[in-house]
Amino acid sequence: MSVEEMNISDRENLIKVGFDFEEKDRAATFLQEDNSIKLVKSLVPGVEILPIEEALKKYSWVKEYYGKAFQKINKDFHKDTQGGYFIWIKKNTQVFFPIQACLLIKKEKFSQRVHNLVIIDENAQGYIITGCTVSETSFDSSHLGISEFFIKKGGYLNFTMIHKWQSTSLVEPKTVAIVGQEGTFISNYICLHPVKKVVMYPEVLLVGEKAKTRLNSLLFSHPDSFLDIGSKVVLKASFTGAEVISRAISDKGEVIMRGHLQSQSPKVKAHLECQGLMLSDKGKIWAIPQLETSYQDVDMSHEAAIGKINREEIEYLCSRTLTEKEAKSVIVRGFMNTDILFLPQVLKSEVERITQEITKVEF
């Protein structure tokens, strides 16, 4: 079945996780349904996009990267994967339109297991938007995504991942990123729809001097959803910097926000911020920030705050003619403001539309 023959509801789901069927403002496209690759296309020079199995066959050097990020942190990874994307932005290539990569689960009780590999070569720059979603009728499915990122010297990657699952989905992304000298890795994770369980704990190693990372998450936990979202950054070289920002709303669901910043070098700067909003007395938000170092000359900080929607803010908006429900919705949307994501303009309005849609719900 081709992309054109996809049913409307699947197409809509893909649009809601940022997929652009017209590929108007896109640099490349990858679309996988269950285990089958539906679409792979690079639209600009300097960007190579392939199914991972094909990339391993086409380039012998890809083996040198495959699984290597996990080995670096002495972690095992699932080898029984099928599919996944290989994205390579070549040396000195700067791509301003996003590369889109989507993974859809169609079958019921399907276990999708993919391995993705992203290489941002020296002084290359790019944006990736990746959406993972599930068909309305695919109950009790699971998604396991192994992702490895290599950002070489002076490389820049802004990676935005949007998830839209359903209340029976089990999701387990496993990510390791290695960032070289003066490289930048920005990762945004957005999960605002119901899901049974998401557990993820990406690890970023800043191995070269002046490497930087910023990890942002916007999370909304619905009744019976369980989100255990964390991240670890290891600052291995001097003048590296990390910022981890999480915003979570619990609407009777559970959220754990973990963050671990570990400096293995002096002269590093790192900050961790977790903010939670409880919409009722049901559900749970648990913020666990950790800072770790053995060096004197570091600048590491964290702040965590959990609370409810401020009554004064609601009443203020009500005095401007908004109903209480509208006022709460506006405040929640404000809390989930996408300005923290450092998105390029072309993605900003899309991501804003996606977050606004879900936070329009009534509380």
């Binding site: 203020y316 009500c318 401007r320 506006v330 405040i331």
Partner: protein, 241 residues
Amino acid sequence: MKREILRIENLTVKVSSKEILKNINLSIEEETTLILFGPNGSGKSTLIHAIMGFSGYKIVEGDIFFKGKSIKNLSIDERARLGIGVMFQRPPKIKGVSLKDIAYFLSSQEEEIEELIQHLNLKSLFHRDLNYDFSGGELKRSELFQVILQKPKLLLLDEPESGVDIENISIMGGILSNYLKNNCVSSLIITHTGYILDYVEAEKGCVMIDGEIVCMGHPQEIFESIKSSGYERCRKCQWKK
């Protein structure tokens, strides 16, 4: 004879079980302005919050009528939609919500919004988080902007000129005065400095001390008396109710 737009009858209000307003009786007619004077902590802002129905301001006795109907049991937004608007003295900060968001909620007329932004010099604040790092003058201009877009029939202004420099008072005063006149709007204005009297034609004035209205009269005369003798004279006022 002008009709009453707001009538407050024997109003007693408690805040955290403390009686703040005691047996207040007031009325404002259509297209008229009432100036409310009073020292700090006398209960002036409490009156505005009680009229609007904010939580924590408990009416223990009396009633509030808007255009002849009791509004005591209406929610804040219902009162706002009937035509009561407030310009707050200390509006809250709201993260991720901009003046632009509220503007487009209150009006769909792009031109009207644009024009008011220009007049009130709000361009640089339009996209910023509401009230975050706004200066005193910016807060007031932002409040006036919102409340004008809201198009109320009764405007409650809580110290519109406090923290505003002379130049901005003149801009705001001009816009406020035009709005009141051109739209036949009534207002209740709380003022400390009285600067606003240079711009707004007010028919009535009153003084609140310790939660009670102690004096009613011509606003300019009351203001002159306060300027010369402070609020002490108001306590023994010859015009006392």
